[in-house]
Amino acid sequence: MQLDHALRDREPADAPTTAATAARVRWRDHETFKTLFVNPWTYTTGAVVLALLNVALMAATGKAWGVTTSVTYWGAWIWRSLSGDPHAWPYFAEVKPAFNAPGFSFWNDAGSLTNLGMVVGALLAALGANQFRVKKLKSRRQIGAAMLGGLLMGFGARLAFGCNIGDLFSGLPALSLHGWVFLVSIFLGAAAGSKLLVRYFI
């Protein structure tokens, strides 16, 4: 298929100048190395691996993958460092009592660990494929889009008690109705967001 052919990296590395670079170049050109580390994986492969990792997480910790709860904790800890008192908020007492457990902190919060891990893992993957690059902003509109989008996501995730991971990728397979309701809702939101994006942000 044309797409498969195009996605497979065809470029041999540049002509080596020394024996050492020649050795390194040959190893990098190896098909297996490329398949694992350079060429993109298929979406289905990614989906299956993500699912298996999620199940592993549930098996080991009793809780599935989630992103936004820990993001809320981060905000609360920052607020605390600015002399706020999030521990007194009704939200944490009623919805996330774990936050008030003695000794609870970043390093023993599974969600914080997976969040940080995701950033580092993505960095590692890009570097391993020699495809890492800092992408600077192209236009001012992107700042507005980032700010508005971030706020909406953070707030929306609290209302829905989760995000595309916690509600959709974890909640739905765990046979909870809120996952299905979230699926329909996020789909509608994405459709509306696409219209807004095309109208105002391109």
Partner: protein, 79 residues
């Protein structure tokens, strides 16, 4: 004699999904069959979803890695 094929370059570096794809769709609408559009991207998602769309739409395309995390998606309008 003269070039009958137009070649246009679209600089989409630094743009977030799905902007490169939308701009590509619009640009291709303005070209004639046989013309070539070169889309410069640095978004890893785009290096997959642009060719996928091009294939679905029936065009010929190639992906060239031109730098670290930078690609040229070369699309030849075919229909």
């Amino acid at each position: 004699m003269g070039l009958s094929v137009t070649e246009r370059t679209l600089d989409c570096l630094g743009e977030a999904c799905p902007v490169p794809l939308i701009r590509t769709q619009r640009a291709l609408q303005e070209l004639a069959i046989g013309d070539v559009l070169i889309v410069q991207i640095d978004h890893s998602c785009a290096m997959k979803n642009l060719p996928e769309w091009a294939e679905k739409a029936g065009h010929n395309f190639e992906i060239e890695e031109v730098g670290d995390g930078q690609w040229d998606i070369v699309i030849e309008k075919a229909c």
